[in-house]
Amino acid sequence: MNIDARYQMAGAVLVVLAILAAAAVTAFLGWGALAAVLFVGAFVLGAAAPPVAILMFRDGLPLGGLIGTGLAIAAQVAFGRAALARREDGRYEWTVLRETADGFAAELSTGETIDIDADDGELYAFGFGKLAVVEAHGNNVDEFRATASDTTRAGVPVEAPKASTGGIVVSLAKIQRRVRGSASSTLVRRGRDKALNDNGGTGQLSQLWTMAFAVVLLVVSFAMTAGVLML
């Protein structure tokens, strides 16, 4: 972070503090010390309430989905243009999208920068802002790289990666290994099995229980009828 950025941030904090101090001083001069104390005390309590509530309830907060979406919108408004970047180690970071001469870039907390080859129209509209969803091309691509170093594969001439673009040659066979079994019918079968387990089957009363009930009914009806007739 350069010196100018630090000054700008310090200036922003000072402006906000000055506005709050002006309100407190107005309350003090116009309506006395009690008004100023109540103003400052209530302000501090009010400001602390949302983060404390989030910290206490965490994902058990009522209307959590709605509040979560609201916070995502608040973040997007603050970012303006944001990047949801997947790092080489697989972790995600939601950060500000910086403009560069060649397009955009996302600076990660690790100090690395992901350059993004895109223009403004390719960004997703999300939460009153724009969002780029990208992944770094580093060690994470290695498992998909084509390993053959010769100029032909399977007897077919292969064009080497273009030096100008510095492209990465990946193998569909290696990608296939990763995606094997994806979007399979497992979910459908689980849905059907759940329904059948919960609600399925004609004659859920087994034959054994049916016979047992029949015998009980026979004895009960015999006793009842005999009792009635003997009265």
Binding site: A12, V16, S184, L217
Partner: protein, 235 residues
């Protein structure tokens, strides 16, 4: 005077509550790109604390939506509601990860995906279309090129590299349809069983009637059997 002081207190409280959003926004607006980054990351952290486990899912009609997810043991997948429709997301490719220390993944249809997979899907599809991937005279060509600088892929198109073609809601739809079919035909007691139980009751009653009517009255009834004792036999 006290009333006015309380009014100032109320104003302070309202300002304080709204400052959770307003003050960071003002700071982001005035503080430049570094402050925008800090403020945005703060909200993202709060968001993930509230959601706990979340996904950014590609909508079928385009765009993305953020939703919280919860693990559904009956489906061995994460349950999610997007636009009011419930479905499940599996992590077959082991791509679900973390955001701000909480469980998070990008999803397309019934699978967690990654932006790199989305790039593969787009590039492989283009290469196949251009005839650069597939069967050739000399064999099969399975290599294709992606640019070294990341691009912004269409997350919606990631399904092109999936093995199957199941969609997020198919599990719940299957459940719903199977349930409806069972509601129609799935009686707990069948007609035959019901008739058997009714017959048992009737037989019990009938036996009782017969026993009382033809049993010779209560207590000690029965058939009298004459017994002749031949006295003096052989005298």
């Amino acid at each position: 005077m006290v009333l006015l002081a309380i009014t100032w207190g109320l104003i302070g409280g309202l300002l304080g509550l709204s400052s959770f959003i307003l003050i960071p926004w003002v700071l982001a607006l005035l503080g430049g790109v570094e402050f925008r980054d800090r403020v945005g990351r703060y909200y993202i952290k709060q968001m993930m604390t509230v959601l706990g486990d979340a996904t950014l899912t590609a909508r079928e009609q385009g765009g993305v939506a953020l939703a919280s997810v919860s693990f559904d043991a009956e489906y061995s997948a994460d349950k999610v509601s997007v636009d009011g429709e419930t479905g499940h997301i599996k992590d077959t490719m082991n791509l679900k990860s973390r955001l701000a220390g909480k469980s998070f993944g990008i999803s397309c249809g019934p699978e967690y995906v990654s932006p790199l997979m989305a790039e593969f899907a787009a590039r492989a599809s283009d290469s196949k279309h251009d005839g650069r991937v597939g069967m050739t005279d000399g064999g099969a060509r399975l290599d294709f090129e992606i640019p070294s600088t990341p691009q912004i892929p269409s997350l919606r198109g990631t399904h092109r590299i999936f093995d199957g073609d199941v969609k997020r809601r198919y599990g719940t739809l299957s459940n719903s349809w199977a349930e409806k079919s069972q509601e129609k035909f799935g009686q707990r007691v069948s007609l035959g069983q019901t008739l058997l139980l009714m017959a048992a009751f009737a037989v019990g009653s009938g036996m009782a009637v017969l026993a009382i009517r033809y049993g010779g009255g209560g207590g000690g009834g029965g058939v009298t059997v004459p017994i002749q004792i031949a006295a003096g036999v052989g005298a």
